[in-house]
Symmetry: C2
Subunit: 158 residues, 2 copies
Amino acid sequence: MDPQPFHDHDHHQCSDAVMSQAEASLAASGARLTPVRRRVLEILLEAHRAMGAYDVLQRLAAEGYGNQPPVAYRALDFLVEHGLAHRIQRLNAFAACMHPGEAHAPAFLICRVCDTVAEAPAAPVRAALDGAAADLGFTVERASIEALGLCPACREPS
Amino acid sequence: MDPQPFHDHDHHQCSDAVMSQAEASLAASGARLTPVRRRVLEILLEAHRAMGAYDVLQRLAAEGYGNQPPVAYRALDFLVEHGLAHRIQRLNAFAACMHPGEAHAPAFLICRVCDTVAEAPAAPVRAALDGAAADLGFTVERASIEALGLCPACREPS
DNA sequence: CTTGACGCGTTATGATATTACATACATAGA
DNA sequence: TCTATGTATGTAATATCATAACGCGTCAAG
Ligand SMILES: [Zn+2]
Ligand SMILES: [Zn+2]
Ligand SMILES: [Zn+2]
Ligand SMILES: [Zn+2]
């Protein structure tokens, strides 16, 4: 079973595992996980949440890295391009990918209470979308599917 | 058959029809279609494309309306709240709704060549998304589904 | 006639993102 | 070893998108 952001889990192990997969994935593609990039990924992995570029930048600056926007944007763009992070359009923010290496275009589930972001398998959704688009003669190349709602934890009165 | 942004059609009739539906829809809800709001809707209706708030603002200013961002944002927000326009997250832009009055949460199909935006019926897509979310215990309240690709016209070598 | 709700105009500011250029660093020939 | 080259980082400046806060005019209810 994949890590489940919405449920209690050993997040240390969770993020370590993702980090390892990320390293392996990058090594395979020959791209370099530099200190800035690695640190940004670690920061994103601290919680199952999306962070704005400027939030990331602030963290980087506090740790002695550059403090201008391109420093953060470049690292984030790198991670996105290499499938190690996703951009959440709705939030103007970025989240670590929980399945690096596996080619995928997930649907994002964003809890409006606790801001947790999870990736859901989007294949059936994507198939439905492709179908609807095909009815209009449209060819889908990339899709962003983002849902806002309540995660299990926040729905329970608990 | 609905108006088909991707195919040749009598757009004058197309936009007039939407405008009428919009007026009817607003009248039913008691909200007021003021000159600024009406003009913004007309501007959005000029083409099946999304426009940024500042593009709209520029048009408004050129016609003697206010030239500060809130003028455009207020009118656009009003239109979105009343179901007469949609916000396209991916583009930071707004498009007129082609089915005002009918409650709907469409999927958007955005041609990367000609920038045309169309609304596709999203019910099946939404159902698939709800299913995938339910598997994780997540309740979807609102979803944005936006596809980038090629419209029929731009795919043909023609 | 007053009052209050609403729409609009304006100033100012905040938040997000990119361009352009300079500098440092790695590594692969010569 | 010594450059040459590509890549990564640092920085300044600017562009783009969005909102907060305030004041004025209009109009209808009381
Ligand atoms: Zn975790
Ligand atoms: Zn939650
Ligand atoms: Zn039309
Ligand atoms: Zn097209």
